[in-house]
């Protein structure tokens, strides 16, 4: 993922209602820092970062600009009625060859993220299944063949690296957008998403062993 070829899009517009704490998920605090801090901290060498905001847009902007100012904020005002596909579509204006799209509630192991940076072609990152809310994936010969399969040990991590020209603008879930591009290279990472209160407790413990500079 060379910086000059890559636009990073972090989707943070949603309300995170399943988590039930009234805060957009990227602002949820894990060991005293918001999730968005960990995401940005991993992206120091990238200079085209776009964060899609909606619910609590101003709070999110205030938080992010404390850490880094050269961010493009993209607004999805209709966040209540739309999915991440709509957010991603809005962010695509003037982007580069590849889009690294990341869901705003994902924590990823630092070393694993650094390994992803060395990959120069499309991939979908997957992780061991941790939550009932995750999107299970079928892996075969290091390829992601299918989403939403039953009995899989693995789930989509919420991180994908895709050529911009292949993205169809539509108001659907991100995995639905990726679905028509399968099979795609799958890369296993250690990551965790936060959808429910029980995910949150897991994530706090997970972060202690997987994230540097807590």
């Amino acid at each position: 993922m060379k910086s000059m070829d890559t636009t990073v899009v972090i989707c943070c517009a949603g309300m995170g209602t399943r988590l039930g704490i009234g805060t957009t998920k990227s602002l949820v605090s894990i060991n005293d820092k918001p999730i968005i801090y960990y995401l940005i901290n991993n992206l120091k060498e990238y200079d085209d970062i776009r964060i899609v905001v909606g619910f609590q847009a101003q709070q999110l902007i205030d938080t992010v600009t404390r850490y880094r100012k050269d961010i493009t904020f993209v607004f999805n005002h209709d966040y209540k009625n739309t999915k991440q596909g709509e957010s991603l579509s809005k962010a695509l204006v003037g982007t580069r060859k590849y889009i690294l799209v990341i869901e705003g509630d994902v924590l990823i192991n630092n070393n694993h993220f650094n390994s992803l940076k060395k990959i120069e072609s499309e991939f979908i990152a997957y992780t061991e299944r941790k939550s009932q809310e995750g999107i299970p994936v079928m892996i075969d010969d290091e390829l992601i063949k299918k989403f939403n399969v039953e009995d899989s040990k693995y789930e989509w991590s919420g991180i994908s690296y895709i050529e911009k020209s292949k993205i169809t603008k539509a108001d659907i879930y991100l995995y639905e957008m990726l679905d028509c591009l399968l099979p795609l290279r799958g890369v296993k990472v250690e990551s965790i998403g936060i959808d429910t209160p029980s995910d949150y407790d897991k994530a706090v413990n997970w972060a202690i062993t997987n994230i540097r500079n807590l």
């Binding site: 847009a57 101003q58 902007i61 600009t65 100012k69 050269d70 961010i71 493009t72 904020f73 993209v74 607004f75 005002h77 809005k90 204006v93 003037g94």
Partner: protein, 201 residues
Amino acid sequence: MSTYVFLFDLDSTITKEEILPKIAEAINKKDEMRELTEKAMVGDIPFKNSFLKRVEVLKEISIEEAKKIVASVELNSEIVKFIKKNKKRCYVVTGNLDVWIELLMKKIGVDKSHIYCSKAETENGYLKQVISVADKELITKQFVQPIVSVGDGDNDSGMAKNSEIAIGYGGVRRIANSLIQNIDFAFYDEKKCAKFLEKLL
């Protein structure tokens, strides 16, 4: 190449500091001015009322002196560079007065036909009265080509609503709440903002 025309607010978008408080400084009325400006920018009082009040405070300064002060305010150089490079497609849409911004506009290289602003009558080198206050929503409705607008204040919301791509620039002051509700993109770094504008050409 796109067909966009680019519309820029002046205060705190093209300039790095606010213009009216800067003029007020010369006649020791900065605090009074700051309070009125603040209320207008966040939308506590209508822009037109606030602007007329602010002009009243600044009437005692000569036009020549005011012009010079305005032309000396610090600018967002990357945004100015974009405007200079793309003169034909760039317009300044500001509530500020024609007689005060004249020199600054020359300095930036914006032709008279590319300026939409408030207008005033002068007498013996001093401001006599304001003739019209620019309404950005009405002004932008007149454009035929699709608009990319850049602004930061409450009075930029109407312009944002009429834009194909509305950008908030928060590098100088916080983007007004009402404008945040109407923009597609926000920038807090002028280089980043100028680079994005380049991609829209």
